[in-house]
């Protein structure tokens, strides 16, 4: 017990430096080991107006995401959402850019979206 107490109280400044450096090193190792994951997602329509039908082509897009190896697991990847914003869009044919919403922005990065945009046909619903 006395030996443990002596060990803990001795050279405290060196120990703090060592702990800090070890933590930094751990961070470098963990956050630099990135992996690339490909997921397919249905494109969601955001800000859809009542009384309109939205037909997308293609309905699914392929997303390549770069993340740290430890987070490349289904429970984290399931949170990836793909959408197009149809706000103020009237009836007719359109091409809209696809947006990706990541569950953890800080450690996930979108590499590619294939295709980057989708064709959209907006039709007024018949009453």
């Amino acid at each position: 017990m006395k030996r443990i107490r002596n060990f803990l109280s001795k050279d405290i400044e060196y120990k703090i430096i060592a702990l800090f450096l070890a933590f930094m090193l751990w961070g470098v190792v963990i956050f630099s080991s990135r992996t690339v994951v490909v997921v397919n997602r249905f494109v969601e329509v955001v800000n859809a107006k009542e009384g309109y039908e939205y037909h997308l082509k293609p309905e699914k897009v392929r997303i390549t995401v770069s993340t740290i190896s430890r987070l490349a697991k289904p429970r984290f990847l399931n949170g990836i959402k793909v959408y197009i914003d149809v706000k103020d869009l009237g009836a007719g044919k359109h091409r809209k850019r696809v947006y990706v919403e990541l569950p953890i922005e800080l450690v996930m990065k979108v590499v590619t979206i294939e295709p980057p945009s989708v064709r959209l046909r907006v039709k007024k619903k018949r009453k």
């Binding site: 060196y14 120990k15 430096i17 450096l21 070890a22 963990i30 987070l71 569950p103 450690v107």
Partner: protein, 256 residues
Amino acid sequence: MLYEVLKEIFSLKDAVDVLAVALFIYGVIYFLVVTKGLQILRGIIFIGVFWLFAELLQLSTLSWIFEKLWTVGLFSIVVIFQPEIRKALAKIGERTKVIRFGSVEEKSIERIVRACRFMSDRQIGALIVIERSANVDDIVEGCVYIDATISPEILITIFYPMTPLHDGAVIVKGDRIAYASCVLPLSRTANLPKKYGTRHRAAVGITEESDAVAVVVSEESGEISLAVEGNLERNLDPEILRDRLGELLGLRDEKD
């Protein structure tokens, strides 16, 4: 979600990992401080900062030189710190020892002490290195293989002046005199009083490089000293020497 992510990234295993690395880094820092390698570390940090500036200012020639020096520098550090690294590794081995081979028996200590008493009374110089867990074969040089049972008569005969084996150290391994006439590494410590010569410096030297203990009998005064872990316990009488050897060789408990 954030909690789940943090839990996934930093688990208990990582905490152990960080602590183990911190312990290793602390060991390196402590080693540099103890071996006075801190000045060298300061030099390396200075060069590192200089290199960083060269990179930031895009001084290509200077950066190129530093890049080339980096590999050479790493090897140089190993070469410069070779004795200290060996000593540190021996220390780790000493702390993790599990089985002791060929340990010295009480009667062997008694015989060494008797030989030392005889040589001390007649001012015959002697240097006896008793190996503990770390092997000293790689540290000592120019030895003559003996492999004899320890006896006061053999030890006295070896160290008797003007005989071929008297100049150098005897290495004791377990209950055998393994070698005689060995050349030991000399200590560079400044703590040793000037009155002590090469024999005492060699005794301290071998205990700095390994966990061995060394008994020295002074040729000038007949004084018996014991070198342990780079320190010299001076002017011991044979009874104290017997007790200390018993403690250090694990035959009896050490006193605080």
